[in-house]
């Protein structure tokens, strides 16, 4: 008997997934050469699964600022902001974020995961109610579990179901907080935020939107889905991450709510963890400035998203319902998906494999994410490899899927 015996089934699944070549859940890069290229096991690959939406990980100004910060302020803060104090950069980044989103307050967390943990476990408490979209990211579910509010789910992106659940809670004491994401990370689908905001208004709930995958992607100014849907005034809390469009690591929340700063001494995932090091703060500030000023990045990202989504759809593959930088191909069978993923990697395309139960439909996904830094040739190379691999491995669906044009609110950019 071992304390780890309970993981036997998981170990078996993990080993089986890796038995066909590379293990999709433990890929190790020999080298990363740019925002779009790296080397795995001696093979050059196009990076098509890194959520590096704006391609800013190698931005020259960001690197320069980061180097300067490490030289002048050292490698780390060695503790939490509550215990060790904040560096000027922490406050400046919070100010930058609040200004970018047009909000009064901003708070920075050490990862995007912790931003959700920190907010959801704290903003609502015992006697309050959290109403989560059923396809919420693990960090949202985990944040809900860490806190003491009563947690219920509504059907994914279904405003009517949300309405029904808020109606059932009418007359029940306690605050109600609805949580949705801008772009859902698995299928790249976009939340019907205008309708959700209308429900929230009518029923008197608070609304939090996780813009992790939509910041820098959606909206005229890149402020995410709330901006694109024209409902920023209805969104009480925006959370997000620095590890996607901003090319670093960390998370944040911005809000206009009165008394926001009390959360700094109430939110345990904020208080009891080391704060972000100066180099990360510096590159994040630089990337945020570039995101705000360089609209061409979003245009290129959007073009690439359409190019990949359209190309894969024309092959007859089942792609997600909306065009967004997350482009996922749904396959029928896990074994075939693992073989396709390996063959794509051998063919020079690195992307993500997502397996049930982490997928929304009980089916495996080959999940790609495009970047503004991809060239059209790289996207075309990926489509060619998808065509070859899915044909060779018999992964093309028997019937051509129905072409599903994205609704007006759903297009990226």
């Amino acid at each position: 008997m071992s304390i780890l015996d309970k993981f036997e089934q998981l170990r078996h699944t993990f080993e089986r997934v890796g038995s066909g070549g590379h293990n999709p859940f433990s890929v190790a890069f020999d080298r990363i050469d740019s925002a779009t290229e790296g080397v795995v096991d001696g093979r050059r690959v196009i990076l098509l699964g890194t959520n590096n939406y704006l391609g800013l990980t190698f931005d020259a100004h960001g690197i320069e600022e980061s180097v300067r910060a490490v030289q002048t302020q050292g490698t780390g803060t060695t503790g939490s902001r509550v215990a060790n104090g904040s560096y000027a950069g922490h406050r400046q980044l919070e100010h930058d974020l609040a200004a970018f989103f047009g909000r009064r307050h901003g708070m920075v967390f050490s990862t995007g995961y912790q931003a959700n943990l920190g907010m959801l476990s704290t903003v609502v408490g015992r006697g309050d109610h959290l109403i989560l979209d059923s396809d919420s990211h693990a960090s949202i579910y985990d944040g809900a579990r860490l806190g003491h509010a009563e947690v219920i789910r509504f059907r994914h992106s279904d405003p009517e179901d949300l309405y029904k659940r808020l109606r059932r809670l009418q007359g029940t004491p306690g605050s109600k907080l609805v949580v949705v994401e801008g772009i859902y990370s698995m299928l790249g689908d976009v939340a019907p935020l205008r309708e959700i905001a209308a429900v929230k208004r009518e029923m008197g709930a608070y609304l939090m939107v996780d813009e992790a995958h939509s910041m820098g992607v959606l909206g005229e100014h890149g402020r995410g889905l709330a901006e694109a849907a024209g409902v920023e005034a209805d969104v009480d809390f925006i959370v997000g991450t620095f590890s996607k469009s901003l090319g670093s690591v960390g998370g944040f929340c911005v809000s206009d709510i009165e008394g926001f700063d009390i959360l700094r001494v109430a939110s345990r995932p904020y208080m009891f963890t080391a704060s972000l090091p100066p180099a990360v703060i510096a590159s994040t500030r630089s990337a945020l400035q570039r995101l705000a000023e360089d609209k061409a990045l979003r245009t290129r990202l959007n073009d690439n998203a359409h190019r990949l989504h359209g190309g894969l759809q024309r092959l007859g593959l089942h792609v997600g319902p909306h065009v967004s930088p997350v482009v996922s191909v749904e396959l029928e069978d896990v074994e075939v998906a693992v073989r396709c993923w390996n063959a794509l990697l051998d063919g020079g395309i690195y992307l993500n494999l997502a397996l049930p139960p982490a997928t929304p439909t009980s089916r495996p996904l080959l999940r790609a994410s495009v970047s503004a830094a991809h060239s059209p040739q790289q996207i075309d190379a990926a489509i060619e490899q998808f065509a070859r691999v899915t044909r060779e491995l018999g992964a093309l669906p028997a019937e051509a899927p129905q072409i599903d044009f994205a609704p007006a609110h759903a297009s990226a950019g």
Partner: protein, 84 residues
């Protein structure tokens, strides 16, 4: 007041629709293990039960449900609490 026997019958009838090939579903049938429903199917089933009885089952209560009877008891508690 909703009777637990009536609730149990309706849950069993719902599960029989979700798993038409499952043999004899009763109060002690374990929803995940015995019926081999995956997590998405379980979630869809719970959402349909919530619709049927016009309730929302909090997630911490869902985690404690193993058998049909466990689910029936939770549904009964929520139905009757809301109508009390």
């Amino acid at each position: 007041m909703k009777q637990i026997s009536e609730i149990r019958e309706q849950i069993i009838s719902g599960l029989a629709q979700a798993r038409p090939d499952a043999p004899d579903i009763n109060g002690s049938t374990r929803i995940v293990q015995d019926l081999e429903l995956d997590s998405v199917a379980v979630m869809d089933f719970i959402l349909s039960v919530e619709d049927r009885f016009d309730i929302s089952i909090p997630l911490d209560r869902v985690a404690d449900i193993v058998t049909v009877d466990d689910l029936a008891r939770v549904v009964e508690g929520l139905c009757n609490a809301e109508r009390a």
